[in-house]
């Protein structure tokens, strides 16, 4: 009888890359979508969700070998996982810990949920003020003033 964990364990540590931790469990797939991880053809990736977390109840984790993200990606992650922690790994060690920062204003990366908003009908770049508390993020449209809450947040 063999145990089931040996192979998986041996590959889950990464030498160089990025670990995104403390993603709310239900938003793991949103983060995967927004980082377009399904399009990555070479880098070894592991994902986990519904792990126990004192803060969130349940959390998700993403580990990607040989990949480092841009600041705009961090801003996007912040919008759907404002408490995520991003660890940069070099030679199997955490060399940098970044907290994603929810920006005060965002331009062009989200859609206004108001179907009547001009940004949904004409070639106008979306702009929002970001309203945030400890766990949630909402966006106030600078054109129609409608608030897009996290559950209706659609990134573009």
């Amino acid at each position: 009888m063999e145990t089931n964990n040996e192979k998986f364990l041996s590959v889950s540590a990464i030498q160089n890359g990025t670990v995104i931790d403390h993603i709310p469990a239900g938003r793991l797939f949103h983060v995967i979508d927004l980082l377009k991880l399904h399009t990555i053809k070479e880098n070894r990736m592991t994902f986990g969700t519904n792990f126990k977390s004192e803060r969130f109840g349940r959390k998700g984790v993403i580990k990607i070998s040989g990949k480092f993200f841009e600041d705009i990606d961090m801003d996007k992650i912040a919008l759907i996982a404002p408490n995520a922690k991003v660890n940069i790994i070099r030679d199997y060690k955490v060399v940098e810990k970044r907290k994603v920062a929810v920006p005060n204003k965002i331009t062009a990366i989200a859609k206004c949920m108001n179907p009547k908003c001009i940004t949904n009908h004409e070639e106008v770049t979306t702009k929002f003020d970001v309203i945030t508390d400890d766990k949630k993020v909402a966006l106030k449209c600078l054109y129609c003033e409608k608030i897009t809450d996290q559950d209706n947040l659609e990134l573009i």
Copy 2:
């Protein structure tokens, strides 16, 4: 300096559940979609892709705690990952190894890629003969005889 792997390692073994191994790397997210894993709210899950595999070059793996799948799910997996191996885990041991079996005929679980096929215009249940070699699966529609190859395979 802390290492990055301790927490992740400690959660990646599962006590009871299912491991789906030998998924072609590029099809991991297809398998996740067809098993609707994004809708699972409680079970701990880990996924990985682009791991080295002698047979496929690169492979994906899915591990789900406390979850066991139906035969119809196995048939669906077989269509997009015909060499997948499904291990059933009890008390941290592999108690059953199943190879997914590509069925000879399938009914109602895939779409015909021929836009003119009657199954895409009327309420007709799709039916296909399954054509398979070692690595690929294609479906021959019993209505229009058009062959839907794996790259165009859309499950319903």
